[in-house]
């Protein structure tokens, strides 16, 4: 029997959003929502599997911006407040819905999940979610990897090797600060790859990446085994190729599992349905309605007349979909028996926030799937390092330029109408930061802090999130302000340094707000830095 090996990779990422200048901030809720609805439920699920002695191997990429926020005292304190407030809202909902048994049961379920998350967060994580991920990695369940410092989409920065290297190096260094094991893999944001990028990754001893499927199918070399086996770049970097068909079973908005009519509707939420006087303490000032997480409708269909969400029905559907996924995997492997000369590896990668937050039943689906795999010899969960350690021969091939964005290239992040106009400023800021690092090397004290902060701002303005949000026109104004703000900050440091001055008022406020990457050294942006050995370590592949 040919075994099907499944390589799940989850990309956990949130842009750096931190506003100590306000007591409550709408976009900070992005983090609290995914902590409550994705990261904690996923962790609880994995610890339960461990307690039940169910074996599993998964890969998680935890972005440096996310790790910075998950380690931040202020944001963690605010998250506790978020949990408390939403538990309080649950109590109110249970009382309000006492005459409606279906909705009341749902409100009770949500409230109890919040309480369970709070308990897990305090007792298992000790207020730091990264501790739980680290524990699962040390116990052999997870392979943890890093990504670029600010989830920067690298193909657009191809002409700025210093900046590309700074993004990768900072990502690797931050990972080693946060976790016990070094990152052997590297999540390329949006699966963005361009030929030559592997050289910067090799420099930091990265052993593998995951690429979109057309990176292989459109290679200038003839692919031998398709996406069923990883390939190696000529410099030895392993590339695990995403299986688009299996990813679309989960990911697609038209045919994916999450579109099932029995699942919970993402958009219908009491934050928009109940009177402002009732909901005011749980939304944002000045009376800006937002999601609360209390959602009582099933997807039902494209209609305003939604059915009440039936949790038991949805859970049964999640199990059916887990079985269906494995059925599809099994069928494919059997259909490829005459073609493949090795057991296939199916790489399926997703944003981690899909599970629980966007697709409410996604955590249950994953739990069911892992338990089904554990009970069936036909399947095996592996991580890329497991495969690499098996020393299986793979093809050497040059991957093609690619991303997992719409169309397969860069048109989401450089769309020509909404976000492309910012690149003249982004590129100029990178050039200015590089110039500053080269003109003022090895500064001490205040100027060093000033330049370090400019380097942080440079990394932040390279984040893929801002052009993505501007393209999608969701909270676009916030993204524009953030992007422009980081560019303005670099310009301020440049203008000051050219006059041999330091704006201390700016510096103190910028350090307080954009307080990530505490060990960042601005000399990383000096061209000569690329000629030096990587500070990581320099072992051979």
């Amino acid at each position: 029997m040919m075994k099907s090996r499944i390589n799940f990779i989850f990309n956990a990422h949130m842009p750096f959003v931190r506003h100590p200048e306000y007591p409550k901030f709408l976009e900070e809720d992005w983090l609290y929502e995914v902590m409550n609805e994705s990261y904690l439920p996923l962790l609880r699920m994995m610890f339960k599997l461990k307690d039940d002695k169910v074996p599993f191997r998964l890969t998680f990429s935890l972005s440096p911006t996310l790790c910075s926020m998950l380690s931040d005292d202020l944001l963690n304190e605010r998250f506790c407040t978020y949990l408390d407030e939403h538990i309080e809202l649950g109590d109110k909902e249970i009382a309000r819905l006492s005459g409606d048994s279906q909705r009341c049961a749902l409100a009770t379920y949500y409230r109890d999940e919040l309480i369970a998350n709070r308990t897990f967060y305090n007792e298992y994580c000790h207020g730091r979610i990264l501790n739980a991920f680290n524990k699962l990695s040390n116990d052999g369940y997870l392979e943890l990897i890093t990504t670029t410092a600010t989830h920067s989409y690298l193909p657009v920065f191809k002409d700025y090797p210093i900046a590309v290297n700074a993004q990768i190096e900072t990502g690797v260094l931050e990972h080693s600060r946060n976790f016990d094991k070094m990152s052997e893999g590297f999540w390329l944001p949006e699966c963005g790859y361009y030929p030559g990028l592997e050289n910067y990754l090799k420099r930091h001893n990265i052993r593998w990446v995951s690429l979109a499927s057309h990176a292989l199918a459109l290679s200038p070399d003839r692919p031998e085994r398709g996406a069923y086996s990883p390939v190696r770049c000529p410099n030895g970097l392993y590339c695990f190729i995403r299986d688009e068909r299996f990813c679309s079973l989960v990911w697609s908005d038209t045919e994916g599992y999450p579109t099932d009519t029995d699942y919970r509707d993402f958009y219908r939420d009491i934050g928009f349905d109940l009177p402002m006087d009732y909901i005011r303490p749980y939304v944002h000032e000045p009376e800006v309605r937002s999601f609360t997480g209390y959602k009582y409708c099933a997807v039902t269909g494209k209609t305003a007349e939604k059915s009440v969400y039936d949790r038991a029905k949805a859970e049964a559907k999640a199990m059916a979909h887990a079985r269906n996924f494995l059925y599809n995997v099994s069928c494919r492997t059997r259909s490829m028996l005459d073609v493949l000369d090795m057991e296939p590896v199916y790489t399926v990668s997703f944003d981690a926030e899909l599970f629980g937050h966007w697709w409410f039943e996604g955590v249950k689906w994953l739990d069911d799937l892992i338990r089904l795999v554990a009970a069936d010899d036909e399947f095996e969960l592996i991580t890329p390092v497991d495969f690499i350690s098996s020393k299986t021969d793979v093809q050497t091939l040059r991957p093609a330029l690619s991303s997992w964005g719409v169309g397969g290239y860069s048109s989401v992040w450089v769309d020509g109408s909404t976000n492309a106009k910012y690149y003249r400023h982004i590129f100029k800021a990178i050039e200015r930061m590089t110039e500053l690092a080269e003109r003022f090397p090895a500064q001490k004290s205040l100027k060093q802090r000033f330049l370090n902060q400019a380097a942080r701002e440079t990394l932040l303005l390279m984040a893929s999130d801002w052009p993505f949000i501007i393209h999608n026109q969701t909270n676009a104004e916030y993204a524009v302000k953030r992007l422009e703000g980081h560019i303005q900050n670099v310009n301020l440091v440049y203008d000051n340094m050219c006059k041999n001055a330091v704006n201390t008022e700016w510096l103190v406020k910028a350090e307080k707000r954009d307080n990530l990457f505490k060990n960042l050294d601005y000399n990383i942006m000096n061209g000569s830095h690329l000629e030096e050995p990587s500070p990581i370590y320099t072992a051979e592949f």
């Binding site: 499927s213 398709g226 402002m276 026109q473 703000g485």
Partner: protein, 239 residues
């Protein structure tokens, strides 16, 4: 600005959003009137809705049903608005798609004045180069002095491309600035489509790229290869 999933919202939700957006008579309008009013309100800024965005990514960074005006992000002290241009002349080329690139340029104020005074016309020259940097072809696009960006086609994969901004005064051309080269690659299968006619090769390479509805993933190059293959097969059948 957008309003998300408008057709799926309840009457109460629509009314609450209408109230938040100060839509006139929000409390007496019918469902149809509320939808029409909100669409009109949002369309004033942008005619897109999130329904046009594909994939689960449409739920990314969404915690409200409307694109809230975030006017409360404070700038740090001392910063200045982004300038219209910087004090230098440069041109950049970024690949958008496998055969389309975004090009933007800037002219220093001094250069701009000189060009304006001389009455120069401007050309954006797209040059195609071979792998060993020999010029293969070029085409010109007339641009004006006030233009600062363009989208250019890179029609043939497997070549390098660069763009130059060229001034023309009295039929005399002068290159103002030139971008770095952008390299495009030609896939092995686009030059060997017959290989895909072998069932084992096609299944190995394309079975992970075909969606449940039987279509190949929406990538222009892959679709072209499949069409090339289909054409070859139908010609064979006709013969």
């Amino acid at each position: 600005m957008v309003l998300i999933s408008i057709d799926s919202l309840s009457d109460t939700e629509l009314r609450n959003i209408a109230q938040q957006e100060d839509l006139e008579d929000w409390d007496t309008l019918s469902r149809e009137e509320l939808i029409e009013g909100l669409e009109h309100l949002y369309d004033e800024d942008d005619d897109r809705t999130l329904d046009g965005i594909t994939g689960s990514s449409k739920k990314k960074f969404v915690n409200t049903l409307t694109d809230v005006q975030s006017d409360n992000v404070l700038s740090l002290p001392g910063v200045e608005s982004l300038p219209e241009s910087y004090n230098d002349t440069s041109i950049h080329l970024i690949l958008k798609d496998f055969n389309w690139a975004y090009v933007f340029w800037s002219l220093s104020p001094q250069q701009f004045s000189e060009l304006e005074e001389s009455g120069a016309s401007l050309i954006l020259r797209n040059t195609r180069l071979s792998a060993d940097d020999r010029k293969v072809a070029e085409y010109d696009i007339d641009v004006s002095l006030s233009d600062t960006s363009w989208t250019v086609e890179l029609p043939y994969p497997g070549f390098k491309y660069k763009v130059s901004l060229v001034s023309v005064v009295d039929e005399k051309e002068s290159v103002i600035c030139t971008s770095t080269c952008l390299e495009t690659t030609q896939s092995w299968f686009s030059t060997h489509p017959e290989e895909l006619e072998k069932d084992s090769v096609f299944r190995a390479v394309f079975s992970s790229l075909i969606m449940m509805d039987g279509t190949v993933i929406p990538n222009r190059q892959l679709i072209d290869i499949v069409e090339m293959l289909n054409k070859g097969q139908s010609q064979e059948a006709d013969a």
